[in-house]
């Protein structure tokens, strides 16, 4: 199973991707990997800082947006990029995340694009053939 796929014909000014997961936990991990790789080439190769956070949203779409916005928040506030994450989401949409992050300074030779916000534009989270697919557009 591929983790994510960048979409060529979506988002005229920005970047869109579809992330996949057999479970919600896996989907959120793959979203993390997709977002970090949109920003930095081979992002998964970095990271020795640990960041923990919790989120709750009233539906899955909003949880995805809040989750990506959290990654963006740490990038701007702490100057670190979350490159991987262990995520647990319960049935009430409470999310717990233990993330691995790397200082941006160490990644500067591999920068691709700066993600500034997750959008609700054409956002779609659906189950298909046993996989959960999430299509999202990022503002860069």
């Amino acid at each position: 199973m591929e983790r994510y796929r960048l979409l060529k014909n979506e988002a005229t000014a920005d970047i869109a991707f579809i992330a996949y997961g057999r479970t919600l936990n896996e989907l959120f991990r793959n979203i993390t990997i997709a977002v970090s790789n949109v920003m930095v080439l081979n992002a998964e190769k970095g990271g020795n800082k640990e960041i923990r956070f919790r989120l709750h949203a009233k539906n899955l779409d909003y949880l995805v947006v809040d989750f990506i916005n959290k990654i963006i928040f740490y990038k701007d506030y702490k100057n670190v990029l979350i490159t991987d994450a262990k995520v647990e989401v319960d049935k009430k949409l409470n999310l717990q995340c233990i993330a691995v992050a790397e200082k941006l300074e160490k990644l500067k030779d591999r920068f691709l694009a700066d993600v500034k916000a997750a959008t609700l534009h054409d956002l779609e989270v659906k189950k298909q053939k046993g996989l959960i697919r999430c299509k999202i557009v990022l503002d860069v």
Binding site: I15, L41, D76, Y77, N79, F111
Partner: protein, 489 residues
């Protein structure tokens, strides 16, 4: 009404001026030539029609020649709303609040700058941080330790704060939209997250389509107006243009309030055509809170561009070993793109204050407008239209016709034609760099991929886009400008 029906209903009622049937509460009005109209995506009209259905929208849902799909409404769109019946929507303003353009003149010629262009661009690259995770310039130590009360002052005072702190002159202020400050700002409506994201980012360019360019006056279309601005008065005059906004601070404000307005919609039984176009009535508690927070974003962006302006002056002094006065580094103008502001217009023969939303669109005030100072009162407001780094840019001027027809609004740039992922495969980075070299443009970028995404072929033809507005009389061409050096994040 279906998108195809809206599209097919467009009739050219005046040169490059198209009107659709009523597409909600009002029709769509588009300013573009037929070729640009044909190439616009269907979703541009779908989004403009969604905006046309918003409560309290006045006259038209406006599209300009650079329009392309956005989030909520297209980029290259404007809509004015009644203060009592109308709404305010972050999706109709944009994430990067007061993303905008500034143009600075110099007394230097191409002959003087060309031999030093590498040194100049390298110096600017060091002094104006760009790219992912860029923080305030190292040399501006006072900006490295901003606390919450500092940021409150910046967000509420705008450019007046930079005058107090020695980063700007009174003359700079006169050449900035709103004189660099909207008084509706109230920092108490801004989240802790926005403060934390913004506090390290003043004086930084960012990335994406943000850039800083050293340019040469290429061609004049109205020598009289150009000369009134001290431009084109010397042969091959050098100018500086840059494009940036409110960085993480503005983005966080937009994200925070989209979420709040979605809650407002569900609590108040509002059915949204597009969640990204969530709104609240302008006069509601929620609407007013966003207006005040968004106004902080506007002021933050003015300050950001002013700090960059300060750094540019320092970089030129260091490179050319001449005084600021001798170099003539005066602000020509600073325009905002993504804003909502209260402005007065004649609606149904009556002077009325409206809340005008501009998303990827520029204010275009004509001669005599009370907002304009000095020579601008006579010639009109400069409209700075940034193009791609390969194709050059334009300086235009606002018109009375724009004030009468489009709530004083015109285009903002070339408008993209392809996604960043598509641009990565369509544009070969080596060929792009070779092309820039052939055109004698020295480029400094943090990311070669980021550079590729901004190649000229990812954008519409700027000449056609600007010409469309000129022929429609909404903003008039003054000068074309070609790049000789470019910095990208």
């Amino acid at each position: 009404m279906e998108v195809k029906e809206i599209r097919n209903s467009l009739k050219e009622i005046d040169k490059n001026t198209w009107e659709s049937k009523k597409a909600g509460n009002v029709p769509i009005r588009l300013y573009a030539n037929e070729n640009l109209l044909k190439k616009m995506e269907d979703d541009v009209f779908k989004q403009a029609a969604n905006a046309a259905s918003l409560p309290g929208i006045l006259n038209f849902s406006y599209l300009f020649s650079d329009a392309h799909i956005g989030y909520g409404v297209p980029v290259g769109w404007a809509g004015a709303f009644d203060l009592k019946e109308g709404i305010i929507s972050p999706g109709a303003i944009g994430f990067d609040i007061n993303c905008g353009m500034r143009l600075i003149k110099t007394n230097l010629t191409l002959k003087e700058v060309k031999p030093k262009i590498k040194e100049l661009i390298d110096t600017l690259f060091k002094m104006v941080p760009a790219g992912v995770g860029s923080n305030s310039p190292q040399m501006l130590t006072k900006l490295k330790t901003l606390n919450k009360s500092d940021l409150k002052e910046i967000a509420e005072e705008g450019v007046e704060w930079t005058v107090r702190k020695g980063y700007a002159t009174e003359e700079d202020k006169e050449r900035i939209e709103e004189q660099g400050r909207v008084k509706s700002a109230d920092f108490s409506e801004v989240s802790e997250e926005a403060f934390k994201r913004g506090k390290q980012q003043l004086g930084t360019l960012g990335s994406g389509n943000h850039y800083l360019e050293v340019q040469v006056v290429n061609k004049d279309f109205d020598k009289g107006v150009a000369n009134s601005l001290d431009l084109d008065v010397i042969k091959e005059q050098v100018v500086i243009m840059f494009h940036t906004g409110s960085r993480g601070f503005g983005h966080q404000i937009a994200s925070d309030y989209i979420k709040k307005f979605l809650d407002y919609s569900s609590k108040n039984g509002i059915t949204l055509k597009d969640r990204q176009l969530a709104y609240a009535p302008f006069n509601s508690e929620e609407g007013q809170a966003y207006f005040k927070a968004m106004s902080c974003g506007i002021n933050f962006a003015f300050v950001n561009r002013q700090i960059i302006n300060y750094q540019i002056r320092e970089a030129f002094k260091n490179t050319f070993k001449r005084s600021e006065k001798d170099l003539g580094l005066d602000v020509i103008y600073d325009v905002s793109h993504n804003t909502a502001k209260i402005e007065e217009y004649t609606v149904k023969n009556k002077k009325t204050n409206v809340i005008i939303h501009r998303k990827g669109a520029t204010r275009s005030f004509g001669p005599g407008n009370k907002e304009l100072k000095g020579i601008l009162k006579k010639i009109g407001q400069p409209v700075i239209v940034g193009g791609s780094m390969e194709t050059g840019s334009y300086l235009c001027i606002g018109t009375k016709k724009a004030e009468e027809e489009s709530f004083g609004t015109t285009l903002h740039g070339s408008g993209r034609t392809m996604s960043r992922v598509a641009a990565r495969s369509a544009i070969n980075p080596d060929k792009l760099l070779e092309s820039m070299k052939t055109k004698d443009i020295y480029v400094k970028a943090n990311s070669i991929t980021g550079l590729t995404e901004e190649g000229g072929s990812a954008y519409k033809d700027i000449n056609e886009v600007v010409d469309s507005m000129d022929k429609a009389g909404i903003s008039l061409k003054i000068l074309s400008l070609r790049p000789i050096g470019n910095i990208k994040g």
